[in-house]
């Protein structure tokens, strides 16, 4: 089915199905003052979603419940509360197997509870979109912002994007479907943000017209048939691979896994076109660079402003997509830098590890500053980290003993 043929027609809620490039790039935008959770709702309102499944867990509960209102208003085909995150992600899988455009949200311990599903989604090539409003997952219990769960998501085969602001979130939810539903991609997307910092703060976000929506998902553009008995039910294989312990079986599994990761690689061209690049840079000719993702980018911007007041020039690299990983872009952007500062909201420093595995001259990479367990990251500690790296005295923060 050619989706262009339905452009201009109306969906179940009488919204006009619009060419997504026109909708996202050309249509007038209305500035609106919303919480991140409300922004998720507004994006989903325009995303022509067929099925959403919800489960309460802080801090995504609000967004998930707001999307329930969309269902009550008729914007979503079906919506219900599942019984656990594991069940919810399986319910999402079922709906996607049946050819629906599927949306869900989770956070922290819920992400970990659901984890077995994510590689399955990727392996079954289900283009489900899952919003992840990151929070702590360790014992003792924390409900506060912490991005450690992204470290796990990056190994699942899903596309993983990390939004900095509510505006990113709004645009990327809609653009995310366009990328992940491409036939040569067709992978789930974990669209992450830092919980509370993005979901529970208000920001001005430029919204597309409410009467416009994305074209519906066309399951027959999938690289694997959807399970609706509308295409020939051929026997999938002569012998189930799980039966065989032989080279053919191993080779089949190996090539399938490689294909999943290759599909993520193939998403680059679409993602670059939609997001205007996998990274965003400012002043990368500076000696010192801050490389970050999520709200650590915003704190980095503040630190850069503070340092500029002291005459220290610092550049910035904002990483938008973690999967696919923007290796080439990062190499290019950091080639002149002598100090690369990586502020993060998690205890292990997964972003610094990824960078160290990618960039030449790893001694340039300073893994930190890091905060975790819900702590905020005042820009001053990034300033201090930079000064320390440069061998300067800072002492701006009381009691830190530097």
């Amino acid at each position: 089915m050619d989706t262009t043929s339905i452009i201009g027609t109306k969906n179940r809620k009488e919204q006009i199905i619009t060419d997504p490039r026109v909708m996202m790039n050309d249509a007038p935008r209305t500035p609106s003052f919303f919480t991140g959770s409300e922004v998720i709702k507004e994006a989903v309102r325009r995303a022509n979603v067929d099925v959403m499944v919800a489960y309460p867990i802080t801090p995504q509960s609000e967004a998930a419940a707001l999307c329930g209102e969309l269902f009550a208003e008729g914007y979503i085909g079906d919506y219900f509360r599942g019984e656990s995150e594991f069940a919810v992600m399986s319910q999402c899988a079922g709906a996607a197997f049946g050819g629906a455009r599927v949306f869900t949200t989770t956070a922290g311990p819920g992400t970990l509870r659901a984890m077995e599903n994510f590689p399955m989604w990727a392996g079954a090539r289900l283009p489900i979109q899952c919003i992840v409003t990151c929070r702590g997952i360790n014992s003792p219990l924390s409900i506060q912002p912490d991005t450690i769960e992204i470290a796990y998501l990056m190994q699942t085969g899903m596309l993983v994007w990390h939004a900095e602001t509510a505006q990113d979130f709004y645009d990327w939810i809609l653009k995310g479907y366009m990328v992940s539903e491409e036939p040569d991609v067709h992978l789930p997307l974990a669209l992450c943000c830092d919980g509370f910092f993005v979901t529970h703060t208000k920001d001005t976000v430029d919204l597309t017209p409410v009467e416009m929506c994305l074209p519906p998902y066309d399951p027959y553009r999938s690289p694997v048939p959807c399970m609706d008995m509308e295409c020939p039910p051929v026997r999938m294989m002569r012998d189930p691979f799980v039966m065989k312990s032989n080279y053919i079986s191993y080779a089949t599994h190996a090539s399938w896994q490689q294909e999943v990761w290759a599909a993520a690689e193939r998403s680059r061209k679409h993602t670059i076109a939609w997001l205007d690049g996998l990274i965003e840079t400012e002043n990368v000719d500076a000696d010192i660079l801050i490389v970050a993702s999520g709200t650590a980018v915003s704190q980095g911007r503040e630190a850069i402003r503070l340092l500029a007041d002291e005459g220290i020039r610092v550049g910035l690299v904002k990483i938008k997509t973690l999967r696919p990983w923007p290796e080439e872009e990062l190499r290019e952007a950091t080639k002149r830098a002598s100090h690369i500062i990586v502020p993060e909201f998690n205890v292990i420093g997964w972003l610094a590890r990824e960078l160290k595995a990618t960039l030449p001259r790893t001694e340039r990479i300073i893994a930190g500053p890091r905060v975790c367990g819900g702590m905020t990251m005042p820009p001053e500690i990034i300033v201090e980290g930079i000064k320390k790296a440069l061998g300067m005295r800072s002492g701006v923060l009381a009691g830190r003993g530097s």
Binding site: E62, A72, R81, R113
Partner: protein, 297 residues
């Protein structure tokens, strides 16, 4: 726990916090305190961060007072409002992941039995309806299938209270809540029937209005779980915030709900009846001769 563990090294008592001294001097460990003495001794749970008027808090306080052997009781809980209070009580509280409380309690009660043999160590699970009937439902049922010997108490506020008021499996049909924007589409889960089929030896439904009844249920449930098998108590502990019950109407609401759809029910298996009678002298389960019954009637 030997009661000596809570006592102070002589000379150090002046340095101990007031509440700890109170606990040693006026606490219920080693005594037979009852709910009717509430207010005249230091409770194991006294402070808590719950909302004003919360019925769940009252129920938890009553339940803890009713533990037959608090100095050898360990509670297990999960995410939800209940844990905010239970975790502040002066008895150990185990908290794992959301919904895994009956899994944790299965391991815990078996581990304690291996380590302490015949010395009773009571394990009591207290979790909300989401933790018990939704996300933890499978582990709850399987612990009952396996006849794990501990008590499961559901603090049933018929909603996900702690996350801000979403529909749960124990919500009544038709209630409009978050995640149920058109009203809940299916019936309140019948956990009592589930408990019966799954083989619980004692099952009760209560509301917190009648403290003596709560005490009686908890005592029986904990004692039966020691030796006979799994026990289950389902307590209506309304969420006055999410259901917009004025704080001064919380008990009136509980009474109304009790009369309407949360009547006191109690199921005691024959084996549990015999055990309570023989071991603990419960008279209410003594089989009356049939002839005598006719005469009194």
């Amino acid at each position: 726990m030997s009661l000596n563990y809570v006592k102070f090294t002589p000379g150090f008592d002046v340095f101990m916090p007031k509440e700890y001294r109170d606990m040693v001097e006026h606490g219920p460990f080693g005594k037979k305190t009852t709910v009717s003495q509430m207010g005249s001794f230091k409770e194991i749970l006294e402070e808590h961060p719950m909302c004003a008027g919360c019925a769940m808090t009252l129920f938890i306080r009553l339940a803890i007072i009713a533990f037959p052997n608090p100095e050898d009781t360990i509670t297990v809980g999960t995410a939800g409002c209940g844990r905010l209070a239970i975790s502040q009580a002066a008895i150990p509280f185990v908290y794992g992941n959301y919904g895994d409380q009956n899994g944790v309690a299965s391991g815990l009660s078996r581990g304690l039995r291996i380590r302490f043999g015949d010395q009773p160590k009571d394990v009591v699970v207290m979790a909300g309806d989401g933790g018990t009937a939704d996300i933890g439902f499978q582990q709850v049922l399987h612990s009952w299938f396996r006849k794990e010997r501990f008590t499961t108490i559901m603090l049933d506020n018929e909603v996900y209270g702690n996350t801000g008021g979403q529909e749960s499996g124990m919500t009544v049909r038709g209630a409009v809540l978050k995640m149920a924007p058109l009203g809940k589409k299916f019936e309140k889960m019948d956990m009592v029937a589930m408990a019966k089929i799954a083989g619980c030896a004692y099952i009760a439904t209560v509301v917190p209005n009648n403290p003596r009844r709560v005490e009686s249920c908890i005592k029986k449930a904990v004692l039966i779980a020691r030796e006979v098998g799994p026990t289950y108590i389902q307590a209506y502990t309304s969420c006055n915030i999410e259901y917009a019950i004025p704080t001064d109407q919380v008990m009136a609401d509980a009474k109304t709900v009790e009369d309407d759809r949360y009547k006191f029910t109690e199921y005691v298996s024959d084996e549990a009846k015999a055990y309570l009678t023989e071991r603990y002298g419960y008279k209410e389960f003594v089989q009356k001769p049939a002839a005598a019954a006719v005469l009194t009637a």
